[in-house]
């Protein structure tokens, strides 16, 4: 585990997380699919079917209600309307059954299908009955019969009664006449006539009553009896009529005719009535209606049970959905938990494999900072962290080696520095010795010179002269030496000065450039100040303009105030009617006051602006002056810089001349030296004219002078040497010090030896 690459470890963790997420997603997807299917089933099939069933049942009930209304109503037109509507809705129901059948489970044993078949069967039975009922309802025979009895039949009967009554009156009148006349035979016929007429009346009334009674309360078995009775009555009436007619005379013919006509009219009416009563459609249709109760009940039961089963199925689906949902929720909670736990464990191991080396690395770095280079990490991992620690170890080892090398080298330096220091010390000592030795030599040489002078007694003068000449040439050479050294120094100084002048020339050029720049900027600033001035003037001008406008506003305010005052006065004159006007006038006055105040405000502000702009103008002017002075001073600077650069150029020229002069001097010195050489040669030649002794003396003197000069030179060189040796000594000391510091620095680190 430790040696796997970091990449692999991280990949593993992420892989586990991804897997758990994918598992959650998959579970969610599948379960949601199942859920969706169930819901669809619920909505599409089951609830739709339930809705259809209740719709069909509603329509069935409506058909029934309309049928009742058609049966009950007495108006033919209304009856027909209801019947038509009933038939329409019945057709709708018929059409709905196939759709319903389609959405119910087709297997014949399924309880839903059984219920549906029952429903359908009951409906069809009902349809058959309904057809009959509606047809009967249309006929409405009982009502018609009733109308007939109360209408035409009643008319006829009343007519009969009236005719009979009139006839009876006539008969009575005749009877009284006859009674006075005491005609018994006539009385007898009249009496018989009267009785017959009474019987006719009775028959008519009975028939009417019977027909009235039978309109609403007749049964089929009674119909035959009714027919017989009516026929009997009619026969009786005809018999009576014929009886009367045989007995009657011409006077009674119109009544006979009318009564006969009435009875004749009554016959067809009675037969019509009989027909209607036989039909008896209303009662029959009502009976049929009630008989249709049974199929309708069947339908209701079937519909209810169908609905119930559908509802049960809905509930079952609901519970199924709920179960699915809860199981999904559980899964969706568990799976991520498992995945997360697993990946947390892996992560823990992973971090351990990283943090432990990190901690060790920190400790290692601290040790290195302290200077302990002997520490190593020595981690055994083979992954990236292990590689890193190995590399750090290598780096530490090489660093340690380097430090060791430095330490050794510094030790070597230290040794060398001490050696150098001792050497230089020795050199110093030796050069000091050399100086003393040179001193000794010089003194010996002087002794030699006095000896030589005594030796050259003979040629004392010449030798003195030669000596003086040689001393003079000595002096000259010494002077020449000093002069040459001075000339050298002069030459060095001249070069230094030339360098400085060069630098100062450059600086002057720079200054002059800056001064010119400054001048141009100052010009720009001046022009800007001018433009600002112009702007200020413009501002001032605008301020004066605004002032004028303000004055106008003030005038307007004044006039308005006056106007308001006059208006108030007029308003008071107007009395009561002017009150409103007075208020308006007051408002106007206030307005005028406000305008005046505003104008004053503006004027004040304008004054403020003007004063500020005046201040600004002054400031600008001051700035302009300052800029001009700056400009002038920068001009002066430029001038003086120019002068300085001219002067520098002149100095440079002078310096070159001086260096040329120095060269001349050197040349002259060379010439002088040459002259001195010539002089000494001449002296030697002059001495050659003298005796050998002089020559020897001069030779000796020359040699002595040579030696002396050499000694001086040597002394000089020795002095220089001493100085150099001192310098070397000092340098060696410094080197020793530095070596010591280096040792110190390197000594902080501990390395393996």
């Amino acid at each position: 585990m430790k040696n796997l690459r970091l990449r692999t470890k991280l990949g593993l963790i992420i892989g586990i997380l991804v897997l758990s997420t994918a598992a959650v997603a998959l579970v969610g997807y599948l379960e949601l699919g199942a859920l969706n299917r169930r819901v669809e089933q619920m909505v599409e099939t089951t609830s739709k079917t339930a809705f259809l069933v209740s719709e069909v049942w509603d329509n069935v009930q409506r058909v029934r209600r309309l049928e009742f209304r058609a049966v009950m109503t007495t108006d033919d037109k209304e009856s027909k309307e209801y019947a038509d509507r009933s038939r329409e809705i019945a057709k709708l129901v018929d059409d709905a059954f196939p759709t319903l059948s389609g959405s119910i489970d087709p297997s014949p044993k399924a309880p839903d299908r059984i219920n549906l078949e029952l429903f359908h069967g009951g409906w069809q039975d009902y349809r058959k009955i309904q057809n009959q009922t509606l047809i009967l309802a249309l006929e409405n025979s009982n009502f018609k019969a009733h109308k007939l009895t109360t209408g035409k039949v009643a008319e006829k009967v009343t007519a009969i009664n009236q005719a009979v009554a009139a006839w009876l009156r006539q008969l009575d009148k005749a009877r009284t006449d006859q009674s006075t006349a005491n005609d018994n035979k006539l009385l007898g016929t009249a009496e018989k006539d009267r009785q017959a007429l009474h019987k006719l009346q009775v028959i008519a009334i009975d028939m009417h009553r019977q027909l009235n009674q039978c309109v609403f309360d007749v049964r089929d078995e009674d119909m035959d009896r009714l027919d017989e009775q009516i026929a009997a009555w009619q026969k009786q009436a005809e018999a009576l009529m014929s009886e009367i007619s045989t007995r009657s005379d011409n006077q009674e013919i119109p009544w006979l005719d009318s009564v006969g006509a009435a009875f004749r009219d009554l016959k067809p009416l009675a037969s019509q009535m009989q027909k209607l009563l036989r039909a008896n459609t209303n009662s029959r249709s009502a009976e049929l209606s009630t008989s249709s109760n049974k199929p309708i009940d069947e339908c209701r039961a079937a519909a209810i049970s169908l609905n119930e089963s559908l509802h049960d199925r809905l509930k079952a689906d609901m519970t199924g959905i709920r179960d699915t949902t809860s199981s999904t929720q559980w899964l969706m909670v568990l799976t991520p938990l498992v995945g997360i736990t697993f990946s947390l464990c892996l992560a823990f191991f992973l971090t351990k494999s990283i943090t432990v080396p990190m901690a060790r690395g920190v400790k290692f770095s601290e040790a290195i900072a302290r200077g302990d280079l002997t520490q190593r990490l020595n981690l055994a991992q083979r992954d990236e962290v292990g590689q890193l620690t190995q590399a750090i170890d290598h780096a530490a080892a090489s660093f340690s080696k380097v430090v060791k090398d430095i330490r050794d080298t510094s030790k070597g330096i230290d040794v060398s520095a001490t050696e150098l220091s001792s050497v230089s010390h020795q050199m110093l000592v030796q050069s000091e010795e050399m100086t003393t030795q040179a001193g000794y030599v010089a003194s010996s040489t002087e002794q030699m010179a006095t000896n030589v002078s005594t030796m050259a007694a003979a040629a004392e003068e010449m030798s003195m002269n030669v000596m003086s000449i040689s001393s003079a040439s000595e002096e000259i050479s010494v002077n020449v030496g000093t002069i040459s050294s001075t000339a050298e120094a002069t030459a060095r100084n001249v070069t230094a000065v030339a360098g400085a002048i060069q630098e100062s020339t450059l600086a002057f050029e720079a200054i002059s450039r800056d001064a010119r720049e400054g001048s141009s900027i100052a010009n720009k600033a001046l022009s800007m100040a001018d433009s600002a001035n112009a702007t200020m003037k413009g501002l001032d001008h605008s301020a004066t303009e605004i002032d004028k406008v303000t004055g106008t506003i003030k005038m307007i305010a004044l006039q308005t105030n006056l106007l308001a005052l006059n208006a108030t006065i007029e308003a008071t004159t107007a009395g009561e009617a002017g009150r409103g006007f007075a208020v308006v006038a007051k408002e106007i006055k206030e307005l005028a006051n406000q305008s005046a105040k505003a104008a004053e405000d503006i004027a004040r502000k304008i004054e403020g602006v003007q004063s500020s702009s005046r201040d600004a103008v002054q400031v600008i002017r001051a700035v302009q002056d300052i800029i001009q002075t700056l400009n002038a001073s920068s001009g002066r600077i430029a001038e003086s810089v120019e002068k300085q650069s001219c002067a520098a150029k002149m100095s440079a020229g002078n310096l070159s001349q001086a260096s040329k002069g120095v060269e001349h001097i050197a040349l002259s010195i060379a010439e002088v030296a040459k002259g001195a050489g010539d002089m000494s040669r001449n002296a030697s030649e002059a001495a050659q004219g003298a005796t050998d002794v002089s020559r020897n003396a001069s030779e000796a003197a020359k040699a002595v002078t040579d030696i002396s000069s050499n000694i001086h030179g040597v002394s000089q060189a020795t002095r220089d040497n001493t100085a150099s040796a001192q310098q070397v000594n000092a340098a060696a000391d410094r080197l020793a010090a530095i070596a010591g510091q280096l040792q110190q620095l390197v000594g902080r680190f501990t390395v393996e030896e």
């Binding site: 004044l558 105030n561 006056l562 005052l565 006059n566 108030t568 006065i569 008071t572 004159t573 007075a582 006055k589 006051n593």
Partner: protein, 181 residues
């Protein structure tokens, strides 16, 4: 413009008497007023054409929209000094019901105030707000009462008496000049 508050007519009123409106103006240091029903208008002062041989109080005539109006100097009448005509000076012109059209020069114009009759002290001996001498002629004749405003006293001028007073003055002047001759 002076801001004089409207008289407090909710208090100290007996219920009898009426509210009268007064035009107020400043002459010298005193606040004077006259009945607004008598005032025709208040205007700026146009150029005054002087008239000679008249008392100083009569300043002359002005042409006000075609009408010639006599200009009297109220300061001249009451305080015997001349009103300098500056930016605040106004001309209060009275109605023609008082006779010939005339107007008075005032130093500054004030507000139109309403004053109840109860708030007016009728004065007979004529000590007016300016604290002038008691019993001097113009005050007695011209000032008809002192009105009490919320923070000041108002000397109520009777405009009807102005013209007769001036006529009297002119007559006196003429008499004096005649006497001199």
């Amino acid at each position: 413009m002076i801001e004089s508050p409207i008289a407090d007519y909710n208090t100290l009123s007996n219920g009898v008497g009426v509210f009268k409106t007064y035009c107020t103006f400043l002459v010298g240091n005193g606040l004077f007023g006259t009945e607004a029903s008598l005032v025709k208008e208040v205007s700026l002062v146009p150029f005054v054409t002087p008239v000679f041989h008249v008392p100083d109080a009569v300043r002359g005539y002005v042409n006000l929209r075609g009408q010639i109006v006599l200009v009297l100097d109220l300061k001249g009448i009451l305080l015997r000094s001349a009103t300098p005509i500056d930016d605040d000076t106004r001309l209060v012109v009275f109605r023609s019901c008082l006779g010939d059209p005339f107007g008075i020069l005032v130093d500054r114009i004030g507000d139109v105030v309403e004053l109840h009759d109860d708030r007016i002290e009728k004065c007979a001996t004529g000590t007016h707000a300016n604290g002038g001498e008691i019993g001097t002629l113009p005050e007695v004749e011209l000032i008809s009462g002192i009105g009490k405003l919320a923070d000041r006293l108002l000397s109520i001028l009777d405009a009807r008496k102005l013209l007769p007073y001036i006529d009297k003055e002119i007559a006196q002047c003429r008499a004096a000049s005649h006497n001199r001759e």
